[in-house]
Amino acid sequence: MHIMEGFLPPIHAAAWGLASLPFLVMGARSVARVTREHPRAKLLLASAGAFAFVLSALKIPSVTGSSSHPTGTGLGAILFGPSVMAVLGAIVLLFQALLLAHGGLTTLGANIFSMAIAGPWVAYGVYRLARALGAPLSLGVFLAAALADLATYLVTAAQLALAFPDPVSGFLGALTKFGSIFALTQVPLAVIEGLLTVLVVNLLIQYSRDDLDELAFAPGVVR
């Protein structure tokens, strides 16, 4: 989902940067509020960021014959709400832009929007909806993380289609083209991300029930 350095026209790069800015401000406030109101959960917040750090470093092969990486942003979004992930995801993307030449400074706004904003908000919405409809915790967590992963890549495809519409078939043609590169490849990876997020939530319930209670996450679920 990394749009490479310089691969968005300046207007698009600036627009996505502006679109991401309010979410980053909101995210910084959320991080400050979480650390102030729930000092006990600080280490869990850092761990949610660490989860995104690991998962976005892993290039995994896919059935389409290409490879890509998960994002790991769903976990933090369902534990702490989606806002904090704007900041944690931005740190991951900045690390990769500066040290790995993956993504870039000019495309940072667009990449933050797909991975650190769109993904976490989808995760949060899907999780709340699934739980409201009575889905078991594991199913809600799985769907939240997997669909957030897919949503991130769909947003990237849309960003590229907006910047580089097909000369004949326009935005939709380009969306199909970039979507087939990103979204199909991502399906098995989204499954992997969903399963790993369920695994971590299981471990949290087992060993870290106090921290989850502090955040009022899945109250009453005990192993």
């Binding site: 350095e5 761990s47 660490a50 290409s66 083209k177 192993r223």
Partner: protein, 119 residues
């Protein structure tokens, strides 16, 4: 619970390894190329006159250095996550009265008393 977690790990391994075993789709320029690079190639193919207007400030000088930094990223994340889970697991077990740990510390106290008595 432990069994469910083992099944989750097994399922992750199957989904990750399966593409390497299954026959590759035909007509691939390079097997398992990165999707990001493919998207970049698609842009250049559709608009050959597009020039990236900014270059990365620094690029890893070789594939080895790049994989070093990716490994570092994964290690930092996994290290912190493992530290957190280990810390909380230890804390949750300290609370249990009849755990191995409690028994060991009982014996340690007993031994210490024995030493005291000898003095």
């Amino acid at each position: 619970m432990r069994r469910i977690n083992l099944w989750l790990v097994a399922a992750v391994l199957v989904v990750a390894v399966l593409p390497l075993i299954l026959p590759l789709p035909r007509g691939l320029a390079e097997p398992f190329a990165g999707a990001d690079a493919q998207a970049q190639a698609a842009i250049t193919a559709a608009q050959p006159d597009y020039q990236p207007w900014f270059r990365p400030l620094w690029e890893p000088p070789s594939g080895e250095i790049e994989s070093l930094l990716f490994a570092l990223q994964a290690a930092l994340g996994a290290g912190l996550l493992g530290y957190y889970l280990g810390l909380r697991r230890g804390e949750s077990q300290r609370g249990k009265p009849d755990s191995d740990r409690a028994r060991h510390s009982d014996r340690a106290r007993h031994d210490a008393q024995a030493v005291d008595a000898r003095d």
